[in-house]
Amino acid sequence: MSDSSSYTTAGMRWLAFRRLVTAIVKTAAVAVITLFGLTVFTFSIARYVPTDPVLAVVGDKASQATYDRVYKEMGLDKPMYVQFATYASRLATGDFGKSRFTQNQVFDDLKRVFPATFELATIGTLIGVLLGIPLGVLAAVRRGTWVDQLSRVIGLIGYSVPIFWLGLMGLLIFYAYLDWLPGPGRLDIAYQYTFESETGLVLFDAARTGQWDVFFDACRHILLPAALLGYFSMAYISRMTRSFMLNELSQEYITTARVKGLSEARIIWRHALRNAFVPLITVVALSYGSLLEGSVLTEMVFAWPGLGQYLTSSLMNTDMDAALGATLLVGIVFLFINLLSDVLYRVYDPRTR
């Protein structure tokens, strides 16, 4: 009996291990294929846009000799597949190339701009989650009441008002008129040449080094853009939470819980929300992912030196190594977030184990 039992346990462990390995292999394969596809796609677009990449480098007034030299230096005289192979082999060694506009290695540029976006997106998402989920739950529980209507209006504004306009309005009200918050930028100018952030995460570095004046200054600067992104995130999350909660509240287990005499608060927050949380993971992950890829317009309005601005300016300047590097980073971020949401799914949903 014990032999048979241990045989069964070992078999199940083996099965679980196999499943885990298969899942890892599958995820890795998907990641590689996705990144390769993204590289091919972006590389092709970069090469087929009707813009002369040499012109972007040498300018309109360079001599023909200079033009020809740079054309060769950029490897444009070689067939497309050779150009791609050269690029891909460089990538494989971790070399993203050099930005022709910032004169830095693309990798170094990304290390500089991504933390700014990361900080902004993380705080924005936190705001979105902390406000969006309770609002969505309340809207579902009090369906048809003023709370529900309010949540709908917030959602509608979030979906329909351009973020660009809302950002400018935020600056106009809180910066220009009320004087509560500072203007664009990550820090006041006094700190621009006195504070050096090692990791690029200004809040983290300021707190780590105990420079609390810088920390609070950074808090003031991030508050408005993060609140703005948080608002848009909240609009999306609250609508989806409402929808998931309505679905859960109509389930039989909720009726059973009520019959058993559980308190309404316990039913809503412990049972219904716990189940609604599973699909919400994807919603939050998607929302976070979209903020991490760089909120171009928000970054532009608030002069936030992040990934969105970097990617846009690289594309506008036909700085293709920089644009490709930034695009790949966005791809990697999405893959990572996808993976993270998969893991969380497994943690919260026993059916997926």
Partner: protein
Amino acid sequence: MKKFQLFASVAGLALAASLAPVLADTPADTLVIGQQIDDIITLDPAQVFEFSASEAIGNSYERIINYPPKDPTQLYGEVAESWTVSDDGKTITFKIRDGKKFASGNPLTAEDVVFSLQRAIILNQEPAFIINQFGISADNVKDTIKQTGPLEFTFTMDQSYAPTFVLNCLTSTVAAVVDKKVALEHEKDGDFGHEWLKTNYAGSGAYKITQWKANEVLILERNDNYAEPTPLKRVMYRHIKEISAQRMMLEKGDLDIARNLDATALDAISSNKDITIETGPKSAVYYLGLNQKNATLAKPEVREAMKYLIDYDAIEATLIKHRGKKLQYFLPQGMMGALDDAPYSLDVDKAKGLLEKAGLKDGFEVSMDTSNAPTTMNVAQAIQQTFDKGGVKLVIIPGDSKQTLTKYRARQHDIYIGRWGADYQDPQTNASTFAINVDNSDDATDKPLAWRNAWAVPDEMNKLTKASSLERDGAKRLEMYHQLQKGVNAEGPFIFLYQDIEAWASRAGVKGFIVGPSTESNNLKKVTK
């Protein structure tokens, strides 16, 4: 629950601290400029050709020759103390001012000047052509630009060029003097310190460049070794892309100067007593290029008719208000040889008559490649409306500026609405592109704007353009450029629209910022606040 309370307390504290009254105003010793500086790609004078970087170089490096920003015709030696031209006119001997020092503390000598010019030619970046046009190339630069003493060097050309032409070229950033010792300390693979200088500094100007974070900030600091120390300790360019944000920051006192406000924003703040709006003419010219490969546009009557189908005055009064000034020749106002009359105005009847004469009584359809920059699009639409009155149906093809330029350079356009900025303050800079084209074939080596529009410039005009660069008599030279401008208007495929004006807004206390015709002549040296 306790954890939540702790988190809520910390968040609340941070929020409370965040909402404390915000102190605006820039530091008293620092000039803070809000500007779109995402055009900077390098800080090496041998390579710089972009607006923002040229301004930084102009204020942080000294050039061999310079001119007062308000009057580009009054040339003076900046690094050069004096110069003499040889009898055959081919060699100029420059004497360098004694006692000059770089920001590093190294003395500035003829060796540094020769090094700077030679490296610019050998590196062969975009601005090298300014010196190349005197027959100086990487092959002969060691023989043509030579040090002849500790404070003396010679500049030898292949022909006897007009001295003003040569001196004007030596006012450009390519003639900025680099600290040889510092550059060579950072040399890599024989690059004369090029890679290092792209992001670093080795000059002797009023300010030194101390920090550049692409698309973020550029900081200049006072150079204590400069003969006349600047009143301000520091100039900071903040990259503020959004015009409305620039305006708000200026009004709040977070910026001292806003450089990119459009006509609407400038109008809106003109009533603010704390803000001053100033303007300065620039040497960039806006024009239409009519491709002569298009048989219709090749007809002289059609070209002339189109010049009468533009409402120049309305465009000046509305669309380019604060930003441009009507101009109908290829030389901008302020440059030697510029003409100030305006021979064309909107005259629909005259245009219709000309079109009828060309056999196009019912008009025709033509396309125009247009950069999607707002002002350019607005001007294009205004032209579309007035063209329509004469029966010319203009189809606007909008595109990114680099896309439209790529098409233009390949001569695949019908009409192109373009901007041409002078490379140096000499009329030859524009004459050598609008009024010369010695080879109109598709595989020509030289491709000036006349070539891009497939205009086979008459031999006589080609010769006159070449001769004007050699004429040593100032009055005669002036007359030649007048003749060339009228000739291009009469026979050429260009319709000139307006010249750039830079308008900037500053806090009322800010004084002494001067905008010159070129970006390198924008002067921050005497700014006070």
